[in-house]
Amino acid sequence: MRPWIVPVAAALLLAALPAVLTPYTQDLVVKIAIYAVFALSLELLVGAAGLVSLGHAAFLGIGAYVTVMATGDGGGASALWLLPAAMGAAALYAAFVGALSLRTKGVYFIMVTLAFAQMAYFVFHDTKLGGGSDGIFLYSKPVIQFGQTVLLDLDRKPDLYYTVLAALVFTYALLGLINRSRFGHALAGIRVNEQRMRAAGYTTYGYKLAAFVIAGALAGLAGFLLAVKDGAVNPELLSWHESGAVLLMIILGGIGSLRGAVIGAMAFTLLKELFQSEALLGPLAGHWQLTLGLTIIAFVALLPKGLIGLKARLAGGAHA
């Protein structure tokens, strides 16, 4: 079977879904898709390049903040420059953070990325720049229009849905291409043995930095979408909880696979949704932290390769 068949089928299915979804479940799909974009962007760092970042939410948050701040109080700004602005700002901060943090390795890298994310968090939280701890609001959604013809108005639900879907497809395809390219092979080489890559004449620092900036820009894309969807942006988007959550998504799904990142984003969101639902679980919903926690523990215990390993495990029979 060709590797692209399942993703393409999934994308087509998603494109057809709005016909049968309620407004709420449609929102839920949009949310999962945005988190999938975010998780995929981190997957490029963790899965492809072996760089575990615990500060990835900073780029999501910066993308979201720039979207709202650049829109200002005026009418709907054009998505044509708003989106590049959000992704560019995130990429710029990623270039800065990456340039400094890529000098470190392993756990230190994890912590330096965390430190830079916390710095960004406190800048938005403690200063007037972005409305302080209460955050700021997006009062008019971005549009694309030529003259009087409105091609895209993200205030309309279908427009938002298909834009998010397109972003997911774009991100997935881009990362798929990267993984197959010479650049992707170099990243894989760096992940396995950086020393040897350097000996083979690769400037590993440059490759890693490029990956970091691309991942930052894609996280900025997710931030743009999130800001447009929610219409509200606040510092918690940059907090380490958010960075931790997205890392959990890709671990849960299974590191080293694009599908894993998407599945992880879906599983994490849906599990929380399920455990918090009073309609289904009654009073137990009040203890969602317990049920979610225990479920994650069960996953860790039973699924060493994440959810993506589930299929192999089911097929592989009864050992272990």
Binding site: L100, T104, G244, L247, I251, Q289, L292, I297
Partner: protein, 290 residues
């Protein structure tokens, strides 16, 4: 700022730094030796603080006995925890452990809420440590804070002794600098891990117990401590006790004087410090030296 105020601020910085050290030392041991990024470390601090609250009625003024009882409980708890949740994870990717510790945070928070409730509670300092001594014109300095600092110093010395003068310490040092070497030496690594983990939990819980009368106990108290401890561990150099001590004091000073001079940006100061130090020394201040 006049000189007397400056001195008092220095005292504040040292005291805060020492308490941080107590929490962070457990984290750095677990980090350095087991390679586990323990997100649940803040929860152990929280558990310690709530232990201090729950145990208080049974011990009264037998404060040191209470601390001892709490530490023993926490160590046993840590030992069992390692056995139940971590012992089978070492063959796996490190990130699996991150997932596990995250899940434990959720479980601990909920259990805390079910067992003790969500109210804020105060914890009394023992009566023989009540009051304070005069410091400057208006201020006085509570005896309990002095006690907390002294306790931290004593523990730091004890830890230094254990790490440098005992067989266990030798294994810990070997483990921190080269994990594979320890296996090569024929040491029961499983047992070493279990002891280190139990010790780390006990240290965090003890810090929580000591801090409880100063900070009171409240839901979510573990979260804020966790990140600042990560900062301390990384600045100091992973696995280094001395490094953790130096880094704690540095963080104490930056935090204290940051608040006084740059109120609006004080949240950023500590992270800026960390970034600068890591750019200067990517491995932290004291990697591979105790």
């Amino acid at each position: 700022m006049d000189f007397a105020t400056f001195l008092v601020q220095c005292l504040n910085a040292v005291q805060y730094g020492l308490l941080l050290f107590l929490v962070a030392s457990g984290l750095t041991l677990i980090f350095g030796i087991m390679g586990v990024i323990n997100l649940a470390h803040g929860s152990f601090y929280m558990i310690g603080a709530y232990l201090a609250f729950v145990l208080a009625p049974y011990f009264g003024d037998w404060y040191l006995t209470k601390l001892l009882a709490g530490v023993v409980l926490a160590a046993v708890f840590g030992y069992l925890l390692e056995w139940a949740f971590f012992s089978f994870l070492y063959q796996r990717e490190h990130l699996q452990q991150v997932l596990m510790t995250y899940a434990l945070i959720l479980v601990f928070e909920e259990l805390r809420s079910m067992l003790v409730g969500n109210d804020v509670h105060g914890v009394q300092a023992p009566s023989w440590l009540a009051g304070g001594f005069k410091l400057g014109e208006l201020m006085s300095y509570p005896w309990y804070r002095v006690f907390a600092s002294v306790a931290c110093i004593v523990l730091a010395l004890a830890l230094y002794g254990v790490v440098n003068r005992t067989r266990l310490g030798m294994m810990i040092r070997a483990g921190a600098s080269n994990r594979d070497m320890v296996r090569g030496l024929g040491i029961d690594i499983q047992r070493l891990y279990r002891i280190v983990f139990a010790g780390g939990v006990a240290l965090a819980a003890l810090a929580g117990m000591i801090a409880a009368p100063l900070s009171s106990v409240y839901p979510g108290m573990g979260g804020s401590v966790l990140i600042i401890c990560f900062v301390v561990v990384v600045i100091g150099g992973i696995g280094s006790i001395t490094g953790a001590l130096v880094a704690s004091l540095l963080v104490g000073f930056v935090d204290t004087f940051g608040k006084v001079f740059f109120a609006e940006y004080s949240g950023i100061g500590v992270y800026l410090l960390m970034a600068v130090i890591l750019v200067w020394r990517p491995e932290g201040l004291m990697r591979r030296s105790f």
